[in-house]
Amino acid sequence: MDLSAINPVLFVAGFLVAATPLIFAALGELVVEKSGVLNLGVEGMMIMGAICGFATAVETGSPLLGFAAAAVGGALLSLLFAFLTQITLANQVASGLALTLFGLGFSALLGQSYVGIKPPRLAEVNFGPLHDIPVLGPVLFSHDIILYLGFALVVAIWAMLKFTRAGLILRAVGESHDAAHALGYKVVRIRTLAIMFGGACAGLGGAYISLIRVPQWTEGMTAGVGWIALALVVFASWKPWRLLLGAYLFGGITQLQLNLQGAGVAIPVEYLAMSPYIITILVLVVLSADKSSAPASLGRTFHASS
C-alpha cells in the first residue's frame, strides 16, 4: 500500500473531467423532465453527439466546431423523439428506448471510417498567472473551455428555473400541462424546445467523451453513461445543484477507486468497484428526504382536446 503514489492534484483534475459528460447529459435531461417529458434516449443522443463531434473535429481540425456539431447532432436526433411523442403522441418510454437503439446503430454506421484516428486537441483555457498558483492552478485553471461551460450551464439552468419567467413557464408545463394550456402557453412547442435542449446537452456530453476524455471513436463508447445520467436526475430530485454534487461524487469516487487500486490499498476491489454507485445513491437519497417530487405531468401525453 502506497498512498503517496496518488497525486491529489491529478486526481481532482481527473475527476472533474470524468464528471463532465455526466453533468451535460443529466442537466439536459433535467430540463426535459422539468417540462414533463421523460426521454429515455439520452444514451442514443450522447453517442450521436460523440460521433458527430468527433467526425466534425477531425474533418475541420477544430474541436470547438466539433462540439457545436455534437450539439446539433444530438438536437436533431431528439427532434425525432419530439415528433414521435409530441406530434404523433407515441408512448414516451418506448420512443426513448427506440431512440437509444437507433442512436447506437446509426452512430456505428457513421463512425466506420473514424476508427483509430486521433482527434485534434482542444487547448486549455489560458488563465495567465492563475494557472501558476500551486495546487489550485492545476486543479481549477488548467482545463478546456467545455468543462467550464458545463459548470456555467448548471448555474444558468438553476437561475433560469428559479428566477426567470421562462423557468416558471417550463415548470408550469411540467406540473400541469392542462393548466398551462388553459393559460395560453404552447405546451407542445415548449416541450419540443426542451427536448431539443436536452438533445444538444447530451450531444455535448457524448462529444466530451470522444474528443477529450478518451480521446478516440469506438462504437458504443458511451457504454451506459446515458443511463447513469437518467438515474442521477431522479436521485438529484430534479435540482441542478444536487445534480452537480451527484456527478462530482460519482466521477470522484470512480477515479478514487481506480487510484486506490493502483496504489494497492487493501480494501477488496469488488467493494471499491461498486462504491461510486452506492455512495452517490446514499448521499442523494439522504439529501432528498425533503420530499421533493417529480414534475406532476412527467411522462404523461398531452393533447389539446383532452
Binding site: F11, G14, T218, G220, T254, G262
Partner: protein, 357 residues
C-alpha cells in the same frame, strides 16, 4: 382485397419462402460481448465470422448479436438464436459459460461452442487460445523497456484467463528486470472505453510507463498516446493504428481457421464435443509486428522467445516458480499442466495485491 390481408399474405409468403430457403443452409450464430467495431476482442471474432461466410458462401448463413450482457440476457439471446434455426452457436465471452450450458440442455440438436470457458456437454465444445504465450513476449519487452520499473496492467474480471496473463507477463518481465513492479487495476468491464482510458491514465499518473490491458477497446492506447512516452500492446487485435508508438507489439487472436473448421464439421455431420486450446504454434495466437520503438536487440530476443514457444521447446510457465504466498508452484524444470493453467486462481511470487473474489 383489403390491404391488411394483402400484407399478411405477403408476409406469410416471404416467411414460407424464407423457411424453405433456410433449410439447405447451415445457420451459424455468434453472441458478442461488445460491438463488432471495438477494434479488439469482438472485432476479431467477427473477422472469424466473415471468414466463415467467405469460405462457404451461399451454403451458410451467419447471424450475430452484439453488446450482449453476460448473464441472463445472454441466455435469452441464445435461446432466440436456437429457436430461429441456428445449427451452430458460438458464444464468445467467459461470462456466457453457464447460460450456454443451460440453453444447450434445452436444444440438444443445436451445437454450441463456448470461448474461454471450461464447462462442456455433448453439444457444447469449448475453445480458447493460449494468450499467455503472447503475454510472455509482452512481459519480456515490457521488462526491458520500462524506465520507471512500474508496469500498469488493466484487468477486466478476475478469472483464470486474465490471471494467467498477468502471471505470464510478470514472470517474463521479472526475468529480465528484477526490479519490476506490477500495478494492477480491475476495471470490472470488458468494454467501456471511458473507464478503460481512466484506468490507463491513473496507472500512468502513478508512474507506469508500460500499460498492458486485458480489456477489449483501444481506449487505453489513446490514453497512452496522449500521455506520450508510454508503451502499450495491442490486445486481441493488432491495434496497428496506434503503431509505432504507443503500441509496440500486439497479441492477435485468429479465430478464422477454427470457425471455418467447426462450421465444416457441422455441415459434414462430424461435429463432436471437443476442447481446443491452441497457441502461437498452431496460429491461433499471433504476435503483431514489433515496431522500431523497441531496440533491435530486445526485438530479436522477443522473436527468439516467440520461436521457442511456437516450436514447443519453451513453456512460459516453467519452474522453479513459487506462488504469491511463498508455497511451491513448479519445481525446477517442471512445466504447468493445462488443468492447473485453466483453473489458475493465484498470483505468482512477487506480485503484490490480492485477487478479488
Amino acid at each position: 382485397m383489403k390491404l391488411s390481408t394483402l400484407l399478411a399474405s405477403a408476409a406469410l409468403a416471404i416467411g414460407l419462402a424464407g423457411g424453405a430457403y433456410a433449410d439447405d443452409k447451415t445457420k451459424v450464430g455468434f453472441v458478442f460481448v461488445g460491438p463488432v467495431g471495438d477494434g479488439g476482442w469482438t472485432y476479431e471474432h467477427n473477422q472469424g465470422r466473415l471468414a466463415v461466410e467467405a469460405e462457404f458462401g451461399d451454403k451458410v448463413e451467419t447471424v450475430f448479436v452484439e453488446n450482449v450482457a453476460e448473464g441472463p440476457d445472454s441466455e435469452r439471446v441464445m435461446t432466440q438464436m436456437a429457436l430461429d434455426g441456428a445449427d451452430l452457436i458460438f458464444t464468445t465471452s467467459f461470462g456466457y459459460m453457464d447460460p450456454t450450458i443451460n440453453v444447450a440442455a434445452k436444444f440438444p440438436n443445436v451445437k454450441f461452442e463456448h470461448a474461454t470457458g471450461y464447462k462442456r456437454a455433448d453439444n457444447v465444445s469449448t475453445y480458447s487460445a493460449r494468450f499467455y504465450e503472447g503475454r510472455a513476449i509482452q512481459g519480456h519487452i515490457a521488462g526491458k523497456m520500462t524506465k520507471s520499473n512500474i508496469i500498469g496492467y488493466i484487468g477486466s474480471f478476475p478469472i483464470p484467463e486474465v490471471i494467467r496473463g498477468i502471471n505470464s507477463a510478470y514472470i517474463h518481465a521479472k526475468k529480465v528486470n528484477p526490479d519490476v513492479e506490477f500495478k494492477i487495476v480491475w476495471a470490472y468491464t470488458w468494454f467501456d472505453p471511458a473507464k478503460e482510458a481512466d484506468a490507463a491514465k491513473v496507472l500512468i499518473e502513478q508512474g507506469a510507463d508500460v500499460v498492458l490491458q486485458h480489456t477489449d477497446s483501444t481506449a487505453p492506447q489513446a490514453a497512452a498516446q496522449e500521455a506520450g512516452n508510454v508503451i502499450t500492446f495491442g490486445q486481441a487485435s493488432d491495434m496497428a493504428q496506434y503503431a509505432p508508438m504507443p503500441r509496440v507489439s500486439s497479441i492477435i487472436d485468429d479465430w478464422a481457421p477454427y470457425y471455418v473448421a467447426r462450421t465444416k464439421a457441422v455441415m459434414d455431420g462430424t461435429w463432436t464435443s471437443t476442447d481446443t486450446w491452441d497457441g502461437i504454434g498452431a496460429g491461433m495466437v499471433g504476435i503483431g509486428d514489433i515496431t522500431d520503438a523497441v531496440p533491435a536487440d530486445v526485438k530479436a530476443e522477443a522473436l527468439a522467445l516467440k520461436a521457442s514457444i511456437a516450436d514447443g521447446s519453451y513453456h512460459p510457465f516453467t519452474g522453479p516458480l513459487k506462488k504469491q504466498d511463498g508455497s511451491d508452484f513448479l519445481a525446477d524444470g517442471e512445466t504447468a499442466d493445462d488443468g492447473t493453467l485453466a483453473g489458475m486462481n493465484f498470483y505468482v511470487e512477487g506480485i503484490t495485491g490480492d485477487i478479488p473474489n
